[in-house]
Symmetry: C2
């Protein structure tokens, strides 16, 4: 079985990355969401190994010490991180693992896993992004402005991503992500073993010819 890919998904709040990822996982058995490890307490209905792996501060810090996290960060006094073992286990089972993360985390992952595919989800325009944030009706003007400010910050790093997808139509966007993931398997740097095996075989054939 071919090892699955690691897909990092970032994008402005309101660009729809969560919706894209949920649809991908729901409709395609070869995709899986990464599950984060956290020290925050479970909310009602949240289950260990579904929404998060809930662990103690000691367990989390031991995992850090064991180099067992793809990346981690601390927000509001709680740790959040991506367990390497889970991601690796899913990939070994042939699943493409989707990891939603902001830009700094994405860059760390690219360093540690150069074969990761980094996607940035864009709205068709900034106005559409604003309209979507307003349209939710759940956010105050202040929150919307904070999100737009945050979008400006995140936008500074888009060039560091491998691909952008424009979320205009959800179905189209999901198909595009699938095509990108499929194509990434053809990247030369992801096929070094195969390339080397053909090289070795070529050399053997020539020696045999002589």
């Amino acid at each position: 079985m071919r090892k699955g890919s690691l897909i990092v998904v970032s994008g402005f709040s309101g660009a729809g990355k969560g919706t894209i990822m949920k649809k991908l996982v729901k409709e395609n058995a070869e995709y899986a969401l990464s599950i984060s490890m956290t020290t925050r307490k479970p909310r009602e209905g949240e289950q260990h190994g579904v929404e998060y792996f809930f662990v103690t501060k000691e367990e989390f810090e031991k995992t850090i010490a064991d180099n067992g996290l793809v990346e981690y960060a601390c927000y509001c006094g709680n740790y959040y991180g991506t367990p390497k073992a889970y991601v690796e286990q899913m990939r070994q089972a042939g699943k493409h693992v989707l990891l939603e993360i902001e830009i700094q985390g994405a860059m760390k992952i690219k360093e540690a896993f150069p074969e990761a595919v980094l996607l940035f989800v864009m709205p068709p325009s900034a106005q559409v992004l604003r309209d979507r944030l307003v349209g939710r009706g759940t956010e105050t003007e202040e929150v919307i402005e904070q999100r737009l400010n945050r979008a400006v910050e995140e936008a500074a790093g888009i060039e560091n991503y491998d691909y952008i997808v424009v979320n205009d139509d959800l179905d189209t966007c999901v198909e595009e992500v699938k095509a990108i993931v499929k194509t990434a398997e053809h990247a030369a740097y992801r096929n070094l073993e195969f390339i080397d095996s053909v090289r070795g075989e070529l050399s053997s054939l020539l020696k045999g010819d002589n």
Copy 2:
């Protein structure tokens, strides 16, 4: 209309790159083959603007002087090169231009056109490559050995390509090339104008909010 891509296709002799390109162009109106310019004399049945643009040595050297070639080389006393104007004209018309070229030429193109998509066509194995060369029945053992030697040389540079495609089944291979070309349009570095426009719009929206 969206500008077409520049697709550089390399691969071992016998890997089937010519067949892939012909099928792509025949079945997909959005693909076109690049036409080379040469100073060699037309063979019987060859037409100017179909197989080649046939020009005089003076015309060719003037085109070099005018920086009018994507790349060029001299073989057996004749010049061969890729006219920039033709490639650009096709791309502006929305066509993906396929350019078959060996590895040194491919690297020159990547330098001059960083947005070019570089494909390397591989056989499923070196043995299959040898069998195909033998199977043609038109080549002497000596020629086959030369080609395999050449393959070993070319194989040294495969990592410098963006993608490899394995030509096991022709139809599958053509579909893979199409998926790669489509996906390449999503590369972040190919969408810098769009990214900048969203950035500019975001900033304007925020100024408007204040």
